[in-house]
Amino acid sequence: MNLTINGVAHDVDVPAEMPLLWVIRDVVGLTGTKFGCGVAQCGACTVHLDGTPVRSCSTAVSQAAGKKITTVEGLSPDGTHAIQKAWVDAAVPQCGYCQSGQMMSAAALLAKTKNPSDAEIDDAMSGNICRCGTYSRIKAAIARAGAAG
């Protein structure tokens, strides 16, 4: 099966029903995308398929074939995506484990909605759990990146 991840083509020999998450992590070896719940409840595994955020733990790899897959490593080559800069400026991460998924959800939101309202941020982000409780900084970082963009 052919996958395009962050612009790079990968030919992988995996079952069609294998979740995209485990192909990305264990087969391709990109570990920025995280496993949190396995049932699309926590958002830690969020990646983009043609720009749309999906939970890769609950997406069969066959559904991703032929689409542009973007992971956190593909947000920018050097950490300079507006969301990454805003995350650093607001010092968002604590343990950081959920933040790949948080940033992927946030980046998708900003790509669609330039200057999101509080309610729009809540709506886009409430599928992503953070147990360290960084929600207010995430919100501030998105608002800042939105205003800057």
């Binding site: 079952p15 294998m18 979740p19 485990w22 992590r25 264990d26 087969v27 070896g29 990109l30 570990t31 920025g32 995308t33 995280k34 496993f35 949190g36 719940c37 396995g38 049932v39 409840q41 926590c42 830690a44 992971t71 956190v72 490593e73 947000l75 950490g79 990454q84 995350w87 650093v88 010092a91 968002v92 991460p93 604590q94 343990c95 950081g96 484990y97 959920c98 933040q99 790949s100 940033m103 941020i121 809540d122 709506d123 982000m125 409430s126 599928g127 992503n128 759990i129 953070c130 147990r131 360290c132 409780g133 960084t134 929600y135 207010s136 900084r137 995430i138 919100k139």
Partner: protein, 711 residues
């Protein structure tokens, strides 16, 4: 967590600093992780490596699980060494006894103690390195070392306008004799402590490059998942693994002490193989048939038992006190930690040694587990600490390390074991269920003449640190009960251990995360019974010898605007506590519509002594409040016939962004020694919410979660 341990910490702080606390170390040692460029290192002690490339490696003996030790602890070295913070490189200490925490006596991260325990040791390590670099420069220039200054990673001789960088001096410094004592900087000269430099772990975390335990890859590694017994202590009665072995990628099925492990070429194949196992279980552990309702009944019996252990520190005669009697019973459920990174570990058991990579809060215990399973001596066990995707006390248990070591030993390959979220929820060391019986007496003027807090709960310490379980008393289980800063005319705290066989462990602000809900709710009950405002009632009750507590309470009330909620239509509730030597007070603004509770705003004031990194303190206070909201609003672990009823985030629900309040933090400026900050917010929020609910509805909630209480 550790009242008596904390007292021992306090004793470690003296006027001067003896470097006996820093283990003598060879002057030149190999780097744990050599710098990319060829570089000699000068190591005046176990904690600091000054490299000839201009960087300084700081070895930290604490796990980074979000609380900021990866940044805050190296700041202590950089401050005393006068080296720019961006030249600091951080390494996690190996599981060697020389890196033991001075209070725990081993390598452990917990109880909000990292900064308090390491504050003087790491400053001393930096100061010792500085002294040797200065001595090397003095020798080179043939001048009196006391005339030399240090700044920006260089020694400066102002009288002759000479300077030499640490990189240039490192080799010469390594021949100097390490000083026996050093003088630490006066706080007035701090240039780094008290500022908020960029966190050293943040770039990796925003780029997906940080290596957590679950991300470890070892050449030749296989992947495993463990099917665990549905009841605690259950064992395999029969196993049919034929279908599992047919799953593509599955290479092995092995029985280990915690269940049946499926080994495969990737995590998903291992999990799929596990689903294909046919196992019948012998559910014959001590908790094989427990039920929640029965356990609440038993815990209440324990709380009321006449044989209860009486905690030291009580005063007066509670039984003979006069006044109007007021009593209440509070009930708290088991809770799961639910750290975002599911439990995992990687082990490589070879013929003559074992290596472990683990997201752990207990490196020494992890080493000991690996020694026990393999029979290897300590010198043959290497523990690599990874970043932790949350800890909250769950990773004070090395059970998942045991899984990895047992499986690797069986299959003779490096193995990474990864638990499902369901395994994590159903195989936790839970926050214990607790029933508390409260009795108080109020005299006609509203003075508290008697206060009794009777705790019936499961001891954690009797398993985790048995020597500390003395005369039936677990001091961690009563943490937060009968606050010492209230001047009750008489008081008594009792504890009775009741043992249903459910594994219990430490969870963020253990003991206090429940007992503070009880005490601060009951104080509120007494205030209302006395016809007093809850703030005024507390201010009257606070011991005059606790001015810092009074100041924090007043600060929170003032910043929040006590009596004048910012949120239209909301009600305010108040709570006060001490944790990890720090003091916190919180005002919550809450509204209740039917059974829906909304927490709009939380204002917290804290006094944690010297603030090393203000932005991390703000982050910890806020995060701990949000963690406490999750604990209080909907979370509970319940049992039906020995089995945990909850599975995953759909039925063990936690806080999400849309329900998170606006949080404001204010921290007292202080020159007292630094104390803990990672847990302080957690015990405060539930009672503040409960007291606000009472203000809004007149209903006193005495059991959690709130969602059940108002249902």
């Amino acid at each position: 967590m550790r009242r008596e341990l904390f007292l021992r910490t306090s004793a470690a702080f003296g006027a001067g600093l003896a470097l006996g606390a820093c283990t003598p170390h060879p002057a030149q040692v190999p780097d744990l992780q050599p710098s990319p460029e060829p570089s000699v290192t000068f190591s005046p002690n176990a904690w600091v490596h000054v490299r000839t490339d201009g960087s300084v490696a700081v070895i930290i003996n604490k796990s980074e699980m979000g609380q900021g030790v990866y940044t805050g602890l190296p700041m202590l070295v950089a401050e005393e060494l006068d080296v720019p913070f961006d030249r600091i490189r951080v390494q996690f200490a190996p599981a060697e006894d020389q890196y033991a925490d001075p209070v725990f006596k081993d390598i452990t991260t917990g109880g909000s103690t990292s900064m308090a325990d390491m504050y003087l040791i790491l400053r001393g390590a930096g100061a010792a390195a500085r002294a040797m670099l200065v001595a090397a420069a003095a020798k080179k220039w043939n001048v009196d070392p006391s005339k030399l200054q240090t700044k920006d990673g260089a020694v400066i001789d102002e009288s002759s306008n000479r300077s030499a960088t640490y990189a240039e001096l490192a080799v010469a410094a390594s021949t100097q004799t390490p000083p026996k004592t050093v003088k630490l900087k006066d706080a007035s000269r701090f240039w780094l402590i008290g500022t908020s430099p960029k966190r050293l772990d943040i770039d990796g975390k925003v780029r997906g490059k940080t290596v957590y335990g679950i991300d470890v890859v070892v050449p030749g590694m296989v992947y495993a998942n463990v099917f665990k017994a549905p009841t605690f202590g259950g064992t395999v009665a029969s196993l049919d693994d034929a279908a599992a072995r047919q799953v593509r990628g599955v290479s092995d099925v092995v029985k280990i002490s915690s269940g049946v492990a499926v080994v495969a070429s990737n995590t998903w194949a291992a999990m799929t193989g596990r689903d294909a196992l046919k196992v019948t279980w012998k559910n014959d552990g001590p908790a094989a048939h427990v039920n929640t309702a029965t356990m609440f009944t038993d815990a209440e019996k324990a709380a009321r038992a006449s044989t209860a252990a009486i905690a030291p520190g009580g005063r007066g005669d509670v039984d003979r006190a006069s006044g109007k009697a007021i009593g209440a019973v509070y009930r708290g459920p088991f809770l799961a930690h639910a750290a975002m990174e599911p439990m995992n570990a990687t082990a490589d058991v070879r013929a003559d040694a074992v290596e472990v990579w683990a997201p752990t809060q207990v490196q020494t215990r992890s080493r000991d587990v690996a020694m026990k399973i393999t029979g290897f001596p300590a010198g043959k066990v290497t523990i690599h600490t990874t970043f932790l995707g949350g800890g909250f006390g769950r990773r004070l248990e090395p059970d998942y390390v045991a899984d990895a070591v047992e499986i690797s030993k069986a299959v003779k390959k490096p193995v990474k074991v990864t638990w499902l979220r369901e395994d994590d929820i159903k195989n936790d060391f839970y926050r214990p269920l607790s029933v508390n019986v409260l009795n108080a007496k109020l005299d006609p003027s509203g003075h508290v003449t008697a206060w009794e807090h009777r705790v019936g709960s499961q001891s954690i310490i009797k398993r985790w640190a048995p020597p500390l379980f003395q005369k039936g008393l677990d001091s961690t289980s009563i943490e937060g009960s009968t606050p010492p800063f209230y001047s009750f005319a008489s008081s008594r705290t009792t504890f009775t251990d009741f043992e249903p066989g459910v594994p219990v462990g430490f969870m963020r602000a253990p003991g206090a995360n429940w007992n503070t809900f009880v005490t601060e709710s009951f104080i509120d009950e007494l205030a209302h019974a006395a016809g007093k405002d809850p703030l005024a009632f507390r201010l009257t009750l606070i011991d005059p010898r606790a001015p810092r507590v009074r100041a924090v309470l007043q600060l929170a009330a003032q910043r929040a605007g006590w009596g004048h909620p910012e949120t239209p239509g909301a009600s305010q509730g108040l709570a006060l506590c001490m944790w990890g030597g720090s003091i916190g007070a919180l005002v919550a603004e809450v509204s209740v519509k039917g059974k829906d509770i909304a927490v709009h705003r939380a204002v917290i004031a804290a006094d944690c002594g010297v603030v090393v990194h203000p932005d991390i303190v703000d982050a910890q206070l806020s995060g701990a409040i949000n963690y406490g909201i999750a604990m209080a609003m909907t979370a509970k672990i319940t049992f039906t016939d020995g089995k945990v009823d909850q599975n995953n985030f759909y039925d063990y629900t936690v806080l999400r962004m849309k329900d998170a309040p606006k949080i404001q933090t204010v921290v007292v400026k202080s020159s007292e020694k630094p104390t803990g900050i990672g847990e302080l917010g957690t015990p405060l929020i539930a009672p503040a919410i409960g007291n606000a609910i009472f203000k809004a509805t007149g209903k006193r909630v005495r059991s959690l979660p709130f969602s059940d209480a108002l249902a």
